[in-house]
Assembly symmetry: D2
Homo-oligomer: 388 residues x 4
């Protein structure tokens, strides 16, 4: 392995679940080194966190603006090579924008922004700055999700006819949950989460998985969003019907009010030659259904010769040694390191274009829902014009 890529992090102070996942993911394959960060707006806290992470105090900053300025002033072989953004949602855009303007590549937690307009602006900025931008759509980095995508791209399912994707969670099922944690608090706050709650937070994952695996795009959506828990200001539950580019149909459900459910993202893709099923809570299993044949259970594993070579490379262990969420995240970091170091192309599912589509999905879902679930186009430009 060659030298480690130098990473700076924005966000991820004490108690941030997702930031600790990002850091574990960045460490796992030894291809990235955390060298700078702004972990809190309070400088002492930022320094304290940085020290815990083995950083020099001088590179623990009090603001991201200051960080980008100071790092840009460092010699090229010392300064950070990319910025990992793990703040609450509303800060993703301003931080990414500032990072790109300061000349840094960006790997951002999702969603890319809190509005479609921001996403389009970010897309333009990425193109203009000729820098790398990646969005951590974790679920698209599971080996068997990539395998599913390959199989569909290779025509193993024939024409895709219908997709069912659903994402029930239960962690916000009670009204008491709203204030029970920092994560819940900002996700249910329009100021910090944007115009949507559940659909922005996890509906986008379901939408992304659908487009990513199928290779199709959603043309229009009819959505019915709901706030199930009293006194909440944003949607915490909803469903939609979708029409896809090739005429295929889909349903999408996302909810954070499903009592007792964990993180049960799942997808069925029905084609005219075969069908597939995958479930995030059993990520090492992919079911293939073919007419007149026994069902097949495809398994992740570095030694599974029936998997695509690129998929096997995403597995660190042979079949039977379960890998999971952190490893999927680590796949994203490893790929981004390879992009930064060698210019190896990042999977397009993680690009700013996918990010724009995600924001278009949220916008279209909201518009449709406000209009009694009438059909709304998911085309980003059409949606933007509609607003202007």
């Amino acid at each position: 392995m060659a030298r480690k890529i130098r990473m700076g992090m924005v966000g991820g102070g004490e108690g941030s679940f997702i930031a600790s996942i990002h850091r574990m993911a960045a460490r796992l394959d030894d291809s990235i080194e955390l060298v700078a960060g702004c972990f809190s707006r309070q400088h002492p806290k930022s320094i304290q966190m940085g020290q815990q992470l083995g950083l020099e105090s001088a590179r623990c900053y009090a603001s991201y603006e200051q960080m980008f300025e100071a790092e840009a002033a460092l010699p090229a072989d010392k300064r950070i090579e990319f910025v990992s953004i793990v703040t609450p949602n509303h800060m993703h855009f301003p931080v990414a924008k500032a990072a790109l303007l300061a000349g840094f590549n960006v790997l951002s937690d999702k969603p890319a922004t809190t509005s479609l307009e921001q996403a389009i602006a970010l897309q333009q900025l990425v193109q203009q700055q000729q820098l790398h931008y990646g969005l951590t759509h974790t679920y698209a980095a599971y080996p068997l999700v990539r395998q599913a995508r390959q199989m569909i791209a290779q025509g193993k399912l024939g024409t895709v006819r219908r997709i069912s994707v659903s994402y029930p969670q239960g962690w916000l099922a009670d009204s008491a949950d709203t204030q029970a944690s920092a994560q819940a608090s900002w996700r249910t706050d329009p100021e910090r989460s944007g115009e949507s709650g559940c659909f922005a937070d996890i509906g986008t994952h379901a939408f992304h998985l659908l487009e990513y695996v199928s290779g199709l795009q959603v043309m229009e959506i009819a959505a019915d969003l709901v706030t199930q828990v009293k006194d909440r200001l944003l949607d915490d539950d909803g469903a939609a019907m979708l029409r896809l580019t090739n005429g295929a149909r889909a349903t999408l459900m996302a909810s954070q009010a499903c009592t007792g459910l964990g993180n049960n993202l799942q997808i069925s893709i029905y084609g005219d030659r075969a069908s597939l099923y995958w479930q995030q809570e059993q990520p090492n299993q992919l079911w293939l259904q073919r007419r007149g044949e026994p069902q097949q259970l495809w398994t992740a594993g570095a030694d599974c010769d029936y998997l695509d070579v690129a998929v096997r490379d995403l597995c660190r262990t042979p079949a039977g040694h379960p890998e999971g969420y952190i490893e999927a995240f680590a796949n994203l970091y490893r790929d981004f390191a390879l992009l930064v170091r060698n210019g190896e192309q990042l999977d397009d599912g993680l690009s700013i274009d996918a990010a724009v589509r995600g924001m278009a999905f949220i916008r279209a879902a909201l518009l449709s829902s406000q209009n009694n679930a009438s059909w709304v186009s998911v085309d980003p430009l059409a949606l933007q014009k509609q607003i202007d």
Copy 2:
């Protein structure tokens, strides 16, 4: 066990899958005796089939009209006590009507009729004739479906918020399937199946399961029906969003074009206190999800003391001895025999009222789909007026 109830059958000639299931179900518990039938419009064929089933030739009829007339003329202790209808869909209504008019109780395969108008007419006739009518919604007769219903009725799920029900099948996924069997042929023929194909055939099962288990009614529906397979005249695939009486939301998917799928009816019910999951292909398992507790796997079994007494009575074996589709069907027959013999009330999920709701669902789904998935009320009377 008391004496056997005398049954006459209409339909169910050579090669009818569903009729052989009905007969096995009727036999299983020894409470019913098949004594008459019209198995074919060709008298010799009807006689041949009847003889195979152990009937006297004299009671193997060439038409249902003739059968009802002849049976009605027999002494009360000899003539049939109810009619089992297992014809193709378009004959369910005329046969049921004639049977009721002739004074016979009716147990009909679903759907009750091929139009809402017929269903309403049948409903009136049932009330007027003061006879028993039952519809064989098999899936509602699985022990754990009844258990789920009980648990929801008892408030164990709290307020139901969202339901996902889907019913993917694959047996009509190819265009060649349309003519591959008698079953396929009439199901895809508007003359014999009615105004809808897939939604009438299995969408109604999904709809019924949803209303039956939840105890809620669907208020309105936005449906998007599709014909996936070329040259087919009726819908073979579709999905809908639903709004329920208590404000809960639901999605419903039904398809016969899902390559490789068997008969995978499944339902998730999410409440504010707990959630449930059940799948027809694993009918002896019911999953209960409660917040902060391990998931519970409820099992069918006559010895499962944690099940409702009425549910245990639907089990013929102790836990660990799998029962299935035929046993569920037999539960329907046994219950109908008890109704005829002792006047024991039939489960209301199998009543003519539920049948009317099923036809209202089909009608509303079609109307909505024809109108680009706009919302349509599922109220039978409102729908009827809309037509008039």
Copy 3:
């Protein structure tokens, strides 16, 4: 379907679980008619039960001796054609013997006898009388068990190397269970169950499944039987290592003291080309593992073209319509009816020879266990000599 075969039943009075299963199984396919029985040694009770089952009082007998005598005296076209034995274990042999001597075919619940000597005597009697004898090894009548057997016979697994079979139940896990039911009471009573408890009751099922599916025979056994529950007189738990004819090895576990378990008979067969896994509680699923390929999930179903024709004939429904324990039992009855009516050969797994092997297994397991789990041959003749 041709005329029904006339059956007489011995045993199966009020409250007998297994007898009601036998009767449902006999009824299901309409190929058998119950016309006589001795359901209790108390004549009034026998009559009462028979009447409930629709029999003439005259053919409800007070003893099996009387029944065989009276039935034998009836005209050939009226008398019973076979006897179904559903008594407690200790009566299987005397009833079967008397039936055969009276000229009747026998279908017996297992075990065939309560000792090896009786089994050998019965084997000789069957041969001498030139009558049909069948043993209801239910689990061998599941479609996918037959499929597994076929696949192994066809060499799809290559050489079988190792088999794991286990049968944990929990219904006798407490000392209070011993007297909690009639079933428990006689199974734990040396007078009525024979020299073994658990191994005779369910160990034989595991042993039979092993030999039946693999087509191999067990050469020798080292067994360690235990009485886990205080004050019980027979084994209620045990395990064994086995060596098979081709040098393959196996382990067998059977227990009725596994708290919370249902009826979890399961078997893994490992070959040098592929492996198989089947579990009774999920009888419609058979797992095939091949090197370097996705696992395959084979499903039962009359329409599963990848199954053997003979296996499909054991399925009454298409894939996705679960069948279970009663249907497996019905397969046995249907096959026995075909044997009696048409002389169609019965599956050899249900023959008196298999019954003798089952008793040899029990005897060998007991001998081994009494001798600190030393190796004992399972050859019936060798074992018999050892005693003599």
Copy 4:
């Protein structure tokens, strides 16, 4: 987080699967820093590997003897604090011995040694040197395995009656496999693997899991080891019956000749109050069976309040975010770092005492198998005397 513990590694050159897992595990939680290593006996290769891992060349050694000498000569705040041993099995003992004698703590891949005598010698050395020794029994570091152990220790299962543990793998199922990889090659070579093949390699895992989870010890064993694949010199398959300290019984199966199987370690523990089931390939699921209650599915997750606090601390993600094999390994490294830094007690399942028991198990299994599966004590001292 406090400072990182300095680690030296012996073994783990190019292509070593298990070494790369050890290094990922050591990195994951940022509590350990790899600073020195002997990755190959060829100095240039060792240096090359070390450089890839970010080490100074000066601390990439050509032999472990040289490494220990040189590191011991470094200042206390620079030299390694523990040695991670990831060599082939036959080198575990000499390296561990040399490390301990040089004053270094040791974390060793399993098995600890290749003979019982070595294990006892190592045990004495550990005690004498007052240093820390840990064995990486990965499977004992899965959160739900720890939970199972807790539940049994707390009496939730009552008295353990029977345990079934089996470990079927298929990666050595063909004779061609023997030379197909370095891993296979040394595992099947008596010179490098020791006196046993499969039982030493994975039988020990099964044995360890059994003793670890149950809290019981195996008293005696009757084992039947086999070489299934032609021309192989060591056992590649086998089974055993076990008798435990409290009178409980167990069966153990381990095989590397099970075609098509992955890494399917699984254990059932049957108690007189409840039973448990866990399977390595689904490590985030633990099944609890209680009499008269629905089965419970316990799930791993940092937010699962029903888990023991110590178990939750082993989870890095909330329920529904799968963790796996690497995370289990990382738990071992994190715990060992805490031991070295803070003296926090290591889980006793990973101690040298457990290692000695593992070697006693192998020895006893071999002795038993050589003596036609007669019973052999698993007491290390008794076994040692037997040899002397």
